[in-house]
Symmetry: none
Subunit: 216 residues, 4 copies
DNA sequence: CATGAATGAGGGTTCATTCAT
DNA sequence: GATGAATGAACCCTCATTCAT
């Protein structure tokens, strides 16, 4: 529940369930936001149990609607997943877009990582899902597009003609940030501190890579 | 005694199925290697399509046996997976065992990474599977045991009272090696060269972590 | 709300399936009576062949629906059986309830048997099923509840401190009625006559038991 | 286990498992009696769980042999059941045979019941099985033959032209004895006392029937 | 906006049975 | 006298999806 950051931080102006704004919808469900609620529940369940093991029945039950209702809002099960991506991939797309218009300096690369760290924190559940369901996602239409995004992101910090080790360092920087998201849950410490430590290591890696690259 | 060999003492080393002895019996009873063949095919399909999306029918068909035959050799679908782990996790267990009896010097840590790099290469398909099916594996009995193993491995290279960044570096070292296995497929270059580059970066990270740690 | 009507409020009385309203819709959606029809067919087949030997495929086929349709109306195969009990056990529950509020006179006991005889005739198929599938039913959730009911019924006609033979007589009275239902099919004679003869013997047994009991 | 009287009381001269008579069969299983042991285990399991729910795997496992071994001794699963009947039905056949050669006096009928009571006690497990698996047995080849036996037994105590109630009394006498076997388990008291009480009630019923019959 | 009822395909699993060895 | 390996049929059940209302 708390993991679902889909619509911002927490649906700020939204009435918490069970406390309808005096004189509001009699049916207890806030109206019109069903689509949003489906996405929230779906993301939660997909992340928790995986895409395949989450059935539409389960989603519907948790929402107290019928399966058929889901089909009013989404054409297929995969469509729900796709919609999650479209909503959550945007921050990353914007980052890539931004990066593409910057000079390829070390400063830029570091800033990319900083922004990426933030973006990751914002879309954490989706990332957890991606990380843990690669086999599934790979087959889905959305898989290719996600992989593309990753490769393009790598390209923004990696020099194509750098030494192999330096290329690895850049890739490692990114994956350090990904891994940091879920492995560090088993390490003690303040989440924000951990995020910063991860970012520091990532920046370090990219810096080494950048410095090591001849002619930069 | 029991008809079901399900518990399995792994009749042999990890003999790849390979080609059937040229000119062998055209049909019926490819001898006593069926269990092995099931494991081979299963690992292949699990890694390729994921555990959930691989049906027993599919495995059976590819082996040209019936589904029921699988149940002669394994008690359940999950059992097949578990058996794969038992066979392939051993190298890692041995590594941890070895590491636990070494002094915690930088040299040892570097050697751990070197050996881990080799172990990973040996059990690559299983690792790819793990990496790509975490959501599934997490629920399975085998999930916990795998996570344990990872944490214990991290403990062999990480100093518990090191700075947070240095701890991250160690974790990063390991995950760099994991990521290296499948991300680098999209980078040009000789596989062995790539493996070495990955190893170098990982060793670098651990070295930095070790050096940075006060009092070491 | 929930799609599955499995818990079931028993939409109607024990309407026998009978003939479909002459000249009704030739196909698709015989309206809302499917649940009822499933129960009817299931009871018929369960009674005829036993619970285990009756497959859902068989039930579905006879109804010209798919197996999956059964699962829309009932959560499991056992659930179908349970629902049959809930529908058909009621007459007996009501009898016990009634008996519990009567004085424990001989007249009452005789009336219990009379009413039980009638109740049995009403739910004959279920009883036949129970009688013939005790081994199965015993394991099912419904088994215990049925046994309870029998014991409580026995308690309504049996004095706890009576002589052992008189206790046996009471039990015998009940089982005579049960046996009467299916053994007497092989004896010639009008069914109603036979029912009355059985009832007479049962009443006789209880009367002897009641008279023989000291202090009554 | 204790219910299995198949081979007498307890295989008297038989070595208890695990203590082989010095210099005996090295394989721990007493040799040659496998067929008997299959029957014992099968009867036990059939009576406990029902015929359908008892699988050959289960029987084999409990005997620590393979399913295939069962097929060496019996042609089919049903064959095991049939063999149980052949062994255990004999006492009843002998009783019928004996009864057929006696004068149809009240004394004879009472003696029939006495002997039947004893026979029932001897083959209790089989009877319990019959009672609880009628639906199954009915379809099996053995079903018809068992029913025949019951009808013939009834004929030995029932006058064909008696009043309907008196016929019922005779049937009731028999079924009282059957029911007595398993219903009385829930009544306190010494088993032998209970058996005698049941017998007394049965004799009573037959006596009434005999006396009530005009012209006897 | 949503439901009730249903479907077709497929899932994993278990069974009685066979047969070469 | 028994086993190891396999089969074919059937089982209960779940799924994503559809469509008239």
């Amino acid at each position: 529940m708390s993991e679902t950051t889909a619509d911002g931080e927490t649906p700020a102006g939204t009435t918490p369930v069970g406390v309808p704004p005096a004189g509001a919808a009699p049916k207890r469900h806030r109206r019109g936001d069903t689509r949003q609620r489906i996405q929230d529940v779906a993301l939660e369940l997909f992340a928790e149990q995986g895409y395949e093991k989450t059935s539409l029945r389960e989603i519907a039950e948790q929402l107290e609607v019928t399966k058929a209702a889901l089909y009013y809002h989404f054409k297929t099960k995969e469509d729900i997943l796709v919609s999650l991506f479209q909503d959550l991939q945007r921050p990353i797309d914007e980052l890539i877009e931004w990066a593409d218009h910057q000079p390829r300096t070390l400063d830029t690369k570091q800033e990319i990582l900083r922004r990426y760290s933030q973006a990751l924190a914002d879309v954490a559940p989706l990332f957890r899902f991606m990380q843990e369901n690669q086999a599934t996602v790979r087959e889905l239409s959305v898989g290719e597009s996600f992989k593309d995004r990753m490769l393009r992101l790598i390209d923004t910090i990696k020099e194509p003609d750098a030494a192999l080790t330096d290329q690895v360092r850049c890739i490692s920087a990114l994956f350090t940030m990904h891994a940091g998201m879920f492995v560090l849950r088993d390490v003690e410490g303040d989440p924000e501190d951990k995020r910063k430590a991860v970012l520091e290591v990532a920046i370090d890696l990219v810096t080494q890579a950048h410095t090591g690259t001849p002619g930069v």
